[in-house]
Amino acid sequence: MSKEILVCCGTGCLAKGSQFVVDEFREKLGERKDIRVISDVKKVGCNGFCENGPIVTILPDHITYYKVSPKDVEEILDSLEDTPVERLLYQDDQGKRVRSREENPFYAPQHKIALRHTGMIDPGNIEEYIKAGGYIGLQNALEASQDAVIRQVEISGIRGRGGGGFPTGKKWRSCLEVSSDMKYMLCNGDEGDPGAFMDRSIMEGDPHSVLEGLIIGAYAIGSRQGYLYIRDEYGLALHHMQRAIDDARKKGFLGKNILGSDFDFDCEIVRGGGAFVCGESSALMASIEGKVGEPRVKYIRSVVKGLFDQPTVLNNVETLANIPYILTHGGETFAKMGTKGSKGTKVFSLVGKVNRTGLVEVPMGITLRELVYQIGGGIPAGKAFKAVQTGGPSGGCIPESLLDLPIDFDTLKEKGSMMGSGGIIVMDETTCMVDLARYYVKFLSEESCGKCTPCREGLRHMLDILARICEGKGELEDLDLLEELAITATQASLCELGRTAANPVLSTLHYFRDEYEEHIVQKRCPAGACKELIRFTILEEACKGCGICAKHCPTSAITGELKKPYTIHQDVCIRCGNCKVKCPFGAIHVE
């Protein structure tokens, strides 16, 4: 039987040289006539396990190879009719080499709906998407009434994957009920949460599913024009999305009389300008109108008066990618998964201090422990787990005591965090929670549009206080002031960015107050992360006097004689950490 070779060409794998692997396969396949491989090597979208890229999959055997380099290509081709190349297989926690993804602890617990095609089909080829069952959802939708389509989405119980968790069916219905000649259907691809990259992967790896979702939504609400607002930084996603639109138009999925019906719809891409606040719905709409992306007060909701003052629905990329599945398999199938209040699956980006990082799609209601320890394989280098941060800058930190919490929209909110777009950032004992709060507040104060005072000024003052504490100049009264500012920003800000901006501060204060107090009272950073509060010293008994540290010290702060213990001069040391990384004997101590 002919084999098929799939090479992952998502941004992660490309950065690790997967294009060279593709080229090598193509060259070698041209030379060899003894191997039967289906036409060409297939370039597929992100497989989610980026840190082990480039990833190569062989079908129909379902063998997946990791960290493949061009020089491995010959060996892979030789092995096609034989036993797999052992050393390129994934090694599981017991040290066993596993052939397929089903045996790989990273993939095994996953259940893919939004990512159902990503990594399996060529995103640049519409025929492959159609062959995989694409555009059937659209066909089903067009054969049904608008009301019936929305009914299916309501039955599915799907809630917005962008962060807010608003029921998608409810949003569509309220827009359908508004009568207007012009309505707009928008896709939010301005993924700005640091630590989350699922939208990018979906747009890169399966653009047609997003587009199909958008067209179905447009039909349901009665819109003829749509826009996809996509981050300018996502070059590959923009490219694939544009190609998908062009191909869909040629096939009659976009344009006039779609699939022979009397429904007309077309859409275009708007490139974002690089502003976090533009992920907020009213700011995004202002940006599409060619204005500064400032949010407005939403006494009147967007479904009534949105883009160009017309009724508008805005959905997130991942939400839209789920829609064709719902219209193909029915809302009830989707609703079978997940928890009472949060149906279906969710894509998480599991990153930070965890052994296996990447994109994972799991049913809602999975516990944080399963995510971190089963799929993620625990904390690297034998360090202790400290917390997970969810929901990006608007979310909060969840401590170890809550690891068995089933994750869904409501449980996370209850614990002072939120689902957000699905970033799960794992932190170990070397992550300082005060520094983390400072990091998020700094991010948000830079991204604050400046329109309302509680957010603009409140964040700046919170940042001042946090910076002071990190430098060891904080007072205990600062914590009360911090809390007061945080609560004011939460209650009085104009948009969700400001209203949730204090979450990182409030949640760390709530769960890790002792760490704040240690910075203030003992002038000590227990995680060893705050530069002003740490000292690098050399352990005399461990130092062999090799001089490597001195050679790599950028400020010549380390002196000594060969074969005798070296010394770090604190007045010159800039605490860059070079010496600690370079020392082969682990003789550099951080205190």
Binding site: T11, K16, E191, G192, F197, G274, A275, G290, T357, C449
Partner: protein, 160 residues
């Protein structure tokens, strides 16, 4: 890019309908073509769209992708997304600053390099990430930033 290869501002404008909703897209293409947005470009766009210069100015200063100052030939973007941050991006940034003797947001006197701190480029699984020009470098270790910059310098020299 050589001066003569650059498109004239009028040629850029002609690619867009005269509607305000294209203001951001036009500014982005000016940024791409010239590396910054000059006062003259702002005036030309204002005349073309009939949008006040003040409004275009506020757009140009609001969005991160747009800059009124000329950036270096090679922009070094140090990602400070959360995943990169907790895996030590601050130290990588310090290293870049030391190597080039400039601060973030600045350009070297020879106009070759700029350093920018960016918030998440969506490559969190390979954190920390440094993007040098168009090239992504993942899992950057302390001490590696020097190598990346040296390599970029050599490539520029070879080019000339």
């Amino acid at each position: 890019m050589e001066e003569e290869n650059k498109k004239g501002i009028q040629e850029l404008l002609d690619g867009y309908p005269q509607e305000q909703r294209h203001a951001l897209a036009i500014l982005q293409s000016v940024q791409k073509e010239y590396g910054f947005i000059s006062a003259n470009s702002l005036m030309a766009i204002s005349q073309y769209l009939g949008t006040p210069v003040s409004e275009l100015f506020s757009i140009a200063t609001f969005y991160k992708a747009l800059s009124l100052k000329k950036k270096g030939k090679i922009v070094i973007k140090v990602c400070d997304g959360t995943a990169c941050h907790i895996r030590g991006s601050a130290q990588i940034l310090e290293e870049c600053k030391r190597a080039l003797q400039i601060n973030e947001g600045e350009t070297t006197p020879d106009g070759l390099f700029s350093i920018e701190v960016v918030n998440c480029v969506g490559s969190c699984a390979m954190a920390p990430v440094v993007i040098c020009g168009e090239e992504y470098h993942g899992n950057v270790q302390i001490g590696q930033a020097d190598e990346i910059i040296d390599q970029a310098k050599k490539e520029v020299e070879n080019h000339e």
